[in-house]
């Protein structure tokens, strides 16, 4: 029987913890929240108990809640997005006193709260989204400059989350307007090439699988959905237009989450899907290998009912250490979990 064991509980943030993530080597855990700080956590080498401890606090970059934080693929840069309408870039400087992060750039342009920031897999782009309904794409210059490459106003309401495709420069965004939109670069122009409609309320988050051919979304409507990419001229009879792929909702899981689902993470090593929910629980699913790939079913492996004392806001699978999951909550804590199948 599968289990999700609590490895440790990490206090420190003074307020809601909004977002957790890992660096690409899986050695550093990163979090941010209402207390306007970004915290970096690493495994305590001296401890045998797999304990994680906070080793850096990045403060003074933002005036308000930090909503989202993300490591660059090179692991040297961190981007943070805040309700103060800006995005900060923090750079690791190695000095005699150890590793220090300094805020080296502030990206301004959004009219109000920035809700999410994400680096593309190639490291050449950064995407941000905001309550001002727009998605911005920033080009990362070689000298560390950030230049706005596109302002995408495809959504009709706040954009809650942006996520890059694991291999290509394709961006997916989730919004309060209940849709997900997909963007790609076409002749130096960023265009929206797909709108995924099926959720009945705000889409809070989304995650690609390791292949980038499947997308999982979660929503305020208490469902999660799996979407599959169908290329032009596919053999399954799924219509496409303008020579662009079609994304089709192939699975809807309802009646499992009793409240809003705030985050979803799709493990690229194991294929496990974790959800963070407003009912304080963390749940682990996988696509039933027996099921039809064009109409897959989700198998619920684990539920941790009171994973946190309040809403769970974010979950993230460690990209390297198999089955290691991080979560964070309104209860001001982070937790690290180990999945055992």
């Amino acid at each position: 029987m599968a289990r999700l064991d609590e490895v440790c509980k990490l206090p420190g943030h003074q307020g809601i913890v909004w977002n957790v993530g890992w660096n690409h080597e899986g050695t550093i855990l990163i979090s941010c929240g209402e207390d306007k700080t970004v915290r970096l956590w690493a495994r305590n080498i001296n401890s045998e108990n797999n304990l994680w401890v906070c080793h850096s606090i990045l403060s003074d970059g933002h005036q308000r809640t930090i909503r989202s934080v993300s490591f660059s693929p090179c692991n040297k840069l961190i981007a943070s997005a805040s309700f103060d309408g800006t995005c900060c870039i923090w750079e690791k400087k190695t000095s005699t006193e150890g590793n220090q992060y300094e805020c080296t750039a502030t990206l301004e342009g959004h009219e109000n709260e920035v809700k999410c920031v994400a680096w593309s897999a190639s490291g050449s782009f950064l995407a941000t989204c905001s309550r001002d309904k727009s998605v911005w794409i920033w080009e990362v210059g070689e000298d560390g400059d950030f230049e706005c490459a596109a302002v995408l106003s495809a959504h009709t309401q706040d954009v809650k989350k942006v996520v890059w495709h694991p291999h290509q420069d394709i961006l997916a965004s989730a919004s309060y307007d209940n849709t997900v939109k997909l963007f790609c670069e076409e002749d130096d122009d960023w265009v929206c090439f797909g709108t995924l409609k099926s959720h009945d309320s705000t889409v809070w988050s989304l995650a690609f699988d390791s292949s980038g051919k499947n997308l999982a979304t979660c929503s305020d409507d208490r469902t999660i959905k799996i979407w599959k990419e169908y290329l032009p001229g596919n053999q399954f009879g799924i219509a496409t237009s303008d020579n662009t792929p079609t994304w089709k909702c192939v699975c809807t899981l309802s009646a499992v989450h009793p409240r809003a689902v705030y985050d979803i993470s799709w493990c690229h090593q194991t294929g496990l899907i974790a959800t963070a929910s407003g009912d304080d629980a963390i749940r682990i699913f996988r696509i039933d290998p027996e099921s039809d790939p064009h109409a897959p079913t989700l198998e619920q492996l684990v539920t941790v009912p009171r994973a946190h004392e309040q809403d769970v806001n974010s979950v993230a699978w460690n990209p390297v250490i198999t089955g290691l999951l991080a979560s964070c909550s309104d209860d001001m804590h982070l937790k690290v979990w180990q999945y055992k199948g």
Binding site: R67, Y176, T202, D220, D330
Partner: protein, 158 residues
């Protein structure tokens, strides 16, 4: 305060409920008092309307019959009734109610604040906004909004 621009110039004033009487059970240390509808109502009744010098109770915006509490399941639902169906302050009133409850209820509770069905033109939009925890959090970092909300709540504490 100016009178011009006040939309609902002639609201009905309703009679106030009397103070909750303290029962012997409530004074008995050994008895656990469940959190009930009346307790939620008492937290909210004296919040004032952002536009009128009257309380939500006097305006019948909150009523005890429109509150649902389940102490075991940790759920509180408040349905409030704006004074008129086009009241532009509906979101602000809802926000004040929600903020008051978030600050004064144990965090184990899931608090839902909704407009009473059929009592407002933009019912769905307002409900969706109030349910969005991210927007509520952000609103509380906006000093203009926070000021209005606090002013509505502060009178209920006196």
């Amino acid at each position: 305060m100016t009178t011009k621009g006040i939309e609902n110039v002639n609201p009905q004033r309703f009679v106030k409920k009397t103070k909750r009487e303290v029962t012997t059970q409530e004074e008995d240390e050994s008895v656990k008092d469940p959190i009930d509808e009346r307790e939620i109502f008492d937290l909210l009744r004296d919040i004032s309307d952002p536009e009128h010098p009257m309380s939500l109770e006097e305006l019948n915006v909150v009523q005890i019959t429109n509150i649902e509490v389940d102490d075991h399941q940790n759920s509180v639902k408040v349905f409030y009734t704006p004074t008129i169906p086009h009241c532009s302050m509906a979101t602000l009133i809802g926000l004040s109610i929600k903020v008051c409850l978030l600050r004064s209820l144990p965090p184990r509770f899931k608090v839902e604040v909704n407009i009473s069905p059929g009592s407002h033109a933009s019912e769905e939009a307002v409900n969706k906004q109030l349910a969005d925890k991210e927007r509520v959090s952000a609103a509380l970092e906006n000093s203009n909004l926070l000021e209005v909300v606090n002013q509505c709540i502060v009178k209920s504490l006196e």
